[in-house]
Symmetry: C2
Subunit: 742 residues, 2 copies
Amino acid sequence: MIKQVLISIVFGAAVLTVGILIGHFGITKSGSSSPSWVKDVAKDVDEDFVEKFMSTVDNIQIQENLRELTKVPHMATTAGDEETVNLMLKRWQDPSTGLDQAWREEYLVHLSFPDPKNPNKVTVVSPSDTVLHTAREKEKSYTPDQDDPEVVQPYAAYSPPGHPQGKLVYANQGKPGDYQKLNETVDLRGTIAITRYGGAGRAAKAINAAPYGVIGVLVYTDPLDINDGLMSDVNETYPHSWYMPPSGVERGSFNTHYGDMRTPYLAAKDETYRIPVEDITGIPPIPIQPIGFEDAYILICALGGEAAPSVWQGAFNCTYNFGGPGFTNTSAFNNSDVRLDIFNNNVLKNSSNVMGIIRGSVEPDRYVIYGNHRDSWVHGAIDPSSGTSVMLEITRVLGQMVKQGLWRPRRSIIFGSWGAEEFGLIGSAEYTEQYFAKLSERTIAYINVDIAVFANASLRASGMPSVQNVLFKAAKQVKAAGLDTSVYDNWIQYFNRTSPAHGIIPRVGYLTGAGSDYAAFVHYLGITSMDISYIYDRSKTKARIYPAYHTAYDTFDYASKYIDPGFVSHQAVARTAGNVLIRLADSLVLPLNCSDYAESLEDYLKTAVRLYEDKLQAKGISMEPLKRAVANFRSAATHLDQVILTSDLVNETPMTIRRINDQLMLLDRAFLDPLAFPDKYAYRHVIWASSSAGKQTFPGLADAYANAELTGQPRDWDKVHYHLSVLSQAIEGAANTLVDVI
Amino acid sequence: MIKQVLISIVFGAAVLTVGILIGHFGITKSGSSSPSWVKDVAKDVDEDFVEKFMSTVDNIQIQENLRELTKVPHMATTAGDEETVNLMLKRWQDPSTGLDQAWREEYLVHLSFPDPKNPNKVTVVSPSDTVLHTAREKEKSYTPDQDDPEVVQPYAAYSPPGHPQGKLVYANQGKPGDYQKLNETVDLRGTIAITRYGGAGRAAKAINAAPYGVIGVLVYTDPLDINDGLMSDVNETYPHSWYMPPSGVERGSFNTHYGDMRTPYLAAKDETYRIPVEDITGIPPIPIQPIGFEDAYILICALGGEAAPSVWQGAFNCTYNFGGPGFTNTSAFNNSDVRLDIFNNNVLKNSSNVMGIIRGSVEPDRYVIYGNHRDSWVHGAIDPSSGTSVMLEITRVLGQMVKQGLWRPRRSIIFGSWGAEEFGLIGSAEYTEQYFAKLSERTIAYINVDIAVFANASLRASGMPSVQNVLFKAAKQVKAAGLDTSVYDNWIQYFNRTSPAHGIIPRVGYLTGAGSDYAAFVHYLGITSMDISYIYDRSKTKARIYPAYHTAYDTFDYASKYIDPGFVSHQAVARTAGNVLIRLADSLVLPLNCSDYAESLEDYLKTAVRLYEDKLQAKGISMEPLKRAVANFRSAATHLDQVILTSDLVNETPMTIRRINDQLMLLDRAFLDPLAFPDKYAYRHVIWASSSAGKQTFPGLADAYANAELTGQPRDWDKVHYHLSVLSQAIEGAANTLVDVI
């Protein structure tokens, strides 16, 4: 009996134990078990998904995208532009490969076009009013693309109309110093100046000229600057190579500021207040017109006067003279004038952005924005449609995954196909003005891929220093086009630097100007941004940019033959940019590194101290606050890095993750000061603003210092001190956002 | 055997079941059970804790705080100020009732003081240079407080030094229209103008005078404006009542902008760039000095010339004449001048803020800021120490709970004891400049309690419309001092309005000016703010403010006898403000209501349409964009309200709560435009900026319209259109932040 009882007890205990174990481990609790979102909020980027994305990105799809995008010229607001709007909408609204939502947004913007009925003319006119020479009005045809009636005549957008006539002079690149130099020898009053592209902004070539009495300006691309000196279309230039044919003309927007000119800081809606056209600043005060080097050759080689300095000489087989002013008396143009007949019109036209979104699952109120402009000057196969064809492939692959329920990003992704970029980054700028508060509060980062492939040698990337690491991570995972190495390993061969923290690494550039649609994001909103492309081997060509840039030769034929046969560099860019995009959207902790930011600030500081400290000390201005600010930034960044490294983030409360991510997301916002650059339109980021001083250091400080040195005025030294305080306070303020939050 | 087997099976099954049940329900799972933070992140405000807080707030503690704070005068940067700094630090660092941390922050700021060795003088001087009358240099003593050697002589801070002498004129309140009117009758060149307080800012009384050639200004408080006409200290004024004695003088800062004047937009650190003193704007260009009505009576009643208009007449038993200029020939002062000898000095001095924090448990990176300035003009029992004694009681009660481990707020609480407010809100402004990015990104709300108790009749509150609801909730839970009713029910008797949404409710004022330390938070940072106090019964007195304001009579004796005997109104303010503070810090969803904001915008719109639409239409300027913006804001607010109401928030992912709270927190930030008011220093909030047009509508629109009507210039009508666009875009932008986040 005792034995039986004992057995029963042991048996019972055993069964009870089994029961307890089953009950505890075998059955999922409903009451106190974790809510379903606990796992979701802790989810990190899925490397398998990243792999899958990259392997799905297809070069042939990109090629076919480009073929479709470049069927016709699609200059902003033209019928061709409207076709691309509809193409974007169709793709992004596709039920099986589209995004969650896509729509268009219109702005009524100030544009400038030539008059198709009265083409602009450049002529050489004899004293008896005989036209001795007429510059070519249209680029020469080599393929049917150039014959498209929608190819716009080469012109300088925003040049005023007018009919100036005068003696020709050669003004090199049209920089302030160029006109100053020229004016020492030649009386410039009443002259027409011919300048070459490069060295100064397009509008600047006319703005710098006017004070000397110059009444009209021509601009051309010297074969030295774009064609490695080659000039003949018999066997040297396109269609025989990627070089610009003699009649090729770079079109462009001749302006200084970005965004719609008539609605500064305001989205250009129908009823928005518009400043009078005559109040617009930063555009040419005198007529200006671009011409091909075929015509420039004829004009320049006939110039009289003294020989220009050697650095002014280009690739033509003649001496570039200043001009007498005018032509040499041994030329057929002796005593003749050059005459410009410019018929450009200003118009208000509706330009569209096309927007598309993928809604985030966990943090829909955090945005990663990916953008590219849609408008071109002519067919724009490279600028911008190489970028658009890449963007369409990224959205196709991601859209498909979303539609199939295989993936949804943690954060929301916004795609922007910007309008009217060529006229001054208008679509992206208006977008940021309209949604200023929302975008400022919620945007993680902006990725810009405008010209995706300049050439097929190497990746090139620019951005805030904090994006360096995620760019590296992505570039290491992508195979370089046609090579047995990664994009990263290839990149580091072409662009590199030695980092105190990381050793030899690829050099990521800075976004200090307004060269593409990142401008408003970087400078006006202070959003962490990057610009990604593939580019050429500088050791093999001195071309300023790919030679068909802004000409009628930037076509599918040109791109597929000379820029990226097989579209494998396009594919590498799509994989790299898409990889970065997914990491920004899906990573639990944002892949932005503030210590890399500190390294750049230290680098800028070192230069500033080296260049300025002695003289500033002599003026009683201390650089200690700036040094302290940078040191505080460094120690705050190190601290935040440590917090991220040492935390068990997957098991942390989601509030901790969000807090860290907010610190990383908002870091660049802390560098904004809307009053820091009173003379620069919409530049608010005190670290990355444009600068004319040409020093690799804090832009406002460099410019203020250069000005004070020039004038020697105590008030200008005060301005240096003032900007030092602005800068130190901004860096201290940014450091304050990185330390423990309370 | 079968039976035994059966019994064993049944027994075994039963034991197994018990085991399963124990295993499932009896033992907490460690693996898949909820992480400990799941409950924390969903916790809402604890009403029992709110009750406990309110019942612990003690009137006698407040009284003793006030007694200690007012032992000596504590004008900014004096030894008395340093004593209060140390008191705050001692209290906030107390191991059993202090905060988590407390520290001081110093700024080197531009202040203005009289010279103790050369007191300012106001005299009547005969043509033979005999001094016929000297205005009292110190206020008369009624208690030992007035004898304290640290009582500063009455003066106008930031008045320039100087010795103007001229004929006296009476200029009413020194408004632009007052001088214009006076100038029609009297040649003002070389005169001294006497003005009364009210109607125009202090500095404006001198700024408005200078263009007419006035060389010096006096200012006094007319008994009509402060004492309900009473004048005698034999039985009418303090120490017999709360009224100002005849020798009482309101001191003050005579400036227009707020913050340290020499470091606009920059925190005034030692090495910060300072503008030259001569570049400071908004301060008196000519000497100005305040005097008591005892002296003003003697001067004004001796004035010659025509009788001033009836609205210019005050309480003196004589006719207020314009002045001949100068005195009537029937007076002893016939032909005499008035002479000012002003010896004020500008100095740079270190002023301290004292800061204290309670770290938040769940969202430490969200701040509720509670502030009050610490500096007074003399003993400052009411201004500001009534507020400081309330703040110290709130921190004592909350600090105790924290130290005992009974409570820790969800969000962080920051307490600020600001320095040098009396000189132009300097401490709070410098703080916001130094920590601009951090505070902009993370601050939920700012609560200002400066003068806690003006008088003991009713609560008075001002703030953004979104705080109305939480103010009501708190006020309903607090018992009105000495009454059998709630603060809310008492409040609604004194201030009320009919709301379309809520019916008759207490009227919450707007923070459109820069009257206290909320200014930088509201206007510069766009942080949702409120200002809370107890105030008098307007039906019982016409006093412009409590009569001892900025005089040597603002003492503990005065406060405890005439303002709040028993300190029960102080207690009611502490309970109300503390209740609001706890709700902002602890509520799961922030108690800020955006639909109430919509109601205010609609109200402003209605007024704007009524006042401006016809004329604007005639000028071709449409108000439709503004109407659309307000309608969009309303519908977005309604939508967000619905989302909050219909969500099961306690069971929602914490990311959803945070998203909604971010929308509510950042709402006011969306109304900022740093370029909206180019002529107003540090005013960026397009809805609440100051306005001189005196209309209950959008300030920039009202001012631009008034100016265009005045000048009739097309360019000024353009400015109206421009501001309409700025305003519409800001409201649209704010609406965009309230709709679904993607």
